[in-house]
Amino acid sequence: MFKDKIELKDFEKMDPEYKDLLGRVLTIQADCEIGGPHLYVEDILPNAPTKVDQLIVARTAAEEVDHYRKMARILGDIGVDVSYVLSWPNQKRYVEAFHGKITTWEDFAVFGLLIDRVGRYQLEEYIDCTYAPLDRILPDVLREEEGHLDYGTNKTAEMAAKGGESKERAQNAINYWYVKGLDMFGRSESKRSERYMYWGLKRRTNAQAREEYRKEVNALIEKMGLEIPDPNKGRLYL
């Protein structure tokens, strides 16, 4: 297991596999950060239920753009340009969950509950990682991401508590995003996942992280009085 702390000045000397894996995982991370606003700004910012909600959507988007900026800066410093993902159409994004468009408030709320939570799991992988510039940006990014998923969780719980059509809409959104969240962890048998761990760039296997996530979200969904969707229905990766 590799445990050294690598600074930018040391990066050039690193093994090509380390360079490739760091560039790869952060490119996907940067794409996911900017992928969120691309999903919801157009329809949700002008149409959120209240003015406060609209302002919170704007602030959430600003924080995601800032997370993109931080990832793009780390990548740029190691010679990887990710400016192209700023203008990518959603269908080109690396992660399938970012391919569509969010047009309803319940989808925005559940996206926070389920998909921003996957984002937190992904960011947690880098805590105390071997690339020091990445480790240093994490506390602020994680704190903001926690705010996004708390907001989504609270709004989903409010919809479920109202019952009737509101609860049904929340359930439909959960049915849609639940499997997308599970898929975001990648293949359970991924060999690359083991190499990330070897180089100290991730802490858990895809399967471990997915299982922890599944337990966490299942408990939340049950607490809201909603049904846990079939975890295997419509999955792209197992």
Partner: protein
């Protein structure tokens, strides 16, 4: 390892953009009873974010 082109410029530009977004939201939040201020802030944020999404970096860094 040579830095990727536009790394510094893009970083600085996005810092300014993010600051403008936060300023608009922070200005509006204590004025929720004033629709003019709130609507203007929301409109400003939408316009700024639309430009970010267009991603026309060569235009930004002219």
């Amino acid at each position: 390892m040579p830095q990727a082109p536009n790394t510094e410029g893009l970083d600085e530009h996005l810092k300014d953009v993010i600051q403008a977004l936060h300023s608009a939201v922070n200005w509006a939040m204590p004025h929720l009873n004033d629709p003019k201020i709130v609507d203007k802030a929301i409109q400003d944020c939408k316009e700024i974010l639309d430009v970010v999404m267009e991603g026309n970096i060569s235009e930004w860094l002219k």
